[in-house]
Amino acid sequence: MADTLVSSQISELIAASKPMLEFENVSIGFEGNQVLVGVTFAVAHGETRILLGPAGGGKSVLMKLANGLIEPDSGEIRVFGRSLKDMTQRELFEMRAHIGMVFQESALFDSLDVEDNVAYRLIEEHVDPVEVHARVVEVLQFVELEKAIDRFPSELSGGMRRRVSIARAIISRPDLILYDSPTGGLDPITSNTIIELVVKQRDVSHTTCLLITHRLQDAVTLATHRYNLQKHCMESIPNGGIAAETRFLVLNEGKVVFDGTTLELTHTEDPWLRRYIE
């Protein structure tokens, strides 16, 4: 990714151990319905934050707020240390170039083939076409879809589209990745493949990420597994270990009902939370 003002801000944040993403008392509503109420949390550098909660709880809205795609009614959102409300439109677009986002329905450009979809960010940055092709092939190999390079989104299955979407999100080596239900609507085997990719990205690139999931088993897999670079596969962390960089945020009816580590979640005494995770 081209060096920009945002790159230097991120380096400063990492040096000062400050959060990459912060929500402070954020509220938003649509047509009289409050979707998020006073949401406060922070995501540290290198952290994988899993966002859980019942459907309709405001998780996808939170994701769009984090990327500045919508504005909150009140509260403050800081991305890479800067408040979104202080940014101009141009600064917002520059900031978004450092964030990878995987949409719930993939949101691939249907008139572009897989190569152009994945290369979109690099083409926008006027990267040399030879380098663009090499990086597209590299990232498609990462998601194990290199054979689909010249196919169009309409020719791909739901799981393949989700993998292309992941490839598009990570090609520019972003500093923050937002996964909006990457396994939503997929069968368990394909879901596992997608989660393995998320774990691989986490353990290979150590990128900060925020991930929404409805499937508790996906969250458990993320917390209890790691990627083995020698064997090129995902495996359980030995001795019942837990990935330290994985933390949880649970939303219910627009409010944060839990913010903590995997162990804190599994040992919670909150009756609603116990019912939810059981």
Partner: protein
């Protein structure tokens, strides 16, 4: 059917006008700053300009034919059938060429823009574009705006030429008029003000077609049904605004040139 209060309805209209004005302002402002999507602009010029050529040529030609036929009937009563060329040339260049070309291109392209952008909106492709750091107005609206204004100008000239050719064809073959007289009276009747009036109108029409088409596309909600609704609204709104603006520009030109 749900009724809304007049106050809420008025607020909706004011908000729509505000959103439309902001879109227009940003689309025009993007022309003067980097990055510019030159390749996208040429693609749109091909799609809007070259793609609309057949309908503009046919519409212009047959409008000229009908105009000559109708004019000859009325002019014959005054023994002025030789003035057919003047009437066809003035009508085509000042009014029918710009307006009919605008309406035809509106029907073809405002609907196309609204449906294309609307489909992208409902399938989250617009959000994906923004999430990837690209301004959709800069990437999608500005190239369409530049291409439509630029191409409509030349399409109108072609339409005017085809209309006069159609009028000449009918005058010579059916009305048995002299071709030289037709073109001479037509040419002599025109002054610079008429040409300027006829060439200013497509600039406004092009702006209206692109901005209204893109505006309805970008505010689409409600899935495929919403895309259909946006497409219809874009064509209706752009057609009505083209005729309204045509009236205002005509009034202004009469004020300036006195005819």
């Amino acid at each position: 059917m749900r009724f809304i209060s007049p106050e809420a309805y008025a607020k909706t209209i004011v908000a729509s006008v505000q959103d439309y004005s902001l879109l227009c302002g940003r689309a025009v402002g993007n022309i003067f700053s980097q990055p510019r999507y030159i390749a996208d602009t040429f693609t749109q010029m091909d799609s809007i300009g070259v793609g609309s050529l057949p309908i503009v040529v046919l519409t212009g030609f047959f409008t000229g034919c009908v105009l000559a036929l109708q004019a000859a009937v009325s002019l014959k009563e005054f023994g002025a059938v030789n003035m057919t060329g003047e009437l066809v040339a003035l009508s085509m260049i000042k009014e029918l060429g710009p307006v009919l070309t605008g309406l035809m291109v509106s029907g073809r392209n405002a609907s196309g823009m609204a449906s294309e952008l609307g489909s992208m909106k409902v399938s989250e492709q617009i959000d994906a574009m923004r999430a990837l750091g690209t301004d959709p107005i800069r990437k999608l609206v500005t190239p369409r705006l530049v291409a439509t204004v630029f191409m409509l100008f030349f399409l109108t000239i072609i339409s005017d030429a085809c209309g006069i050719a159609g009028g000449a064809f009918v005058s010579v073959t059916l009305l048995k008029l002299n071709a030289g007289t037709f073109f001479h009276t037509g040419y002599m009747s025109l002054v610079h003000g008429d040409i300027i009036e006829g060439l200013i109108k497509p600039l406004f029409s092009g702006f209206i077609i692109a901005t209204v088409g893109c505006y309805y596309g970008l505010k689409t909600t409600g899935g495929t049904r919403g895309v259909g609704r946006s497409t219809t609204q874009a064509v209706v709104a752009s057609s009505v605004i083209i005729i309204l603006v045509d009236f205002l520009v005509t009034q202004l030109m009469i004020g300036i040139f006195g005819r």
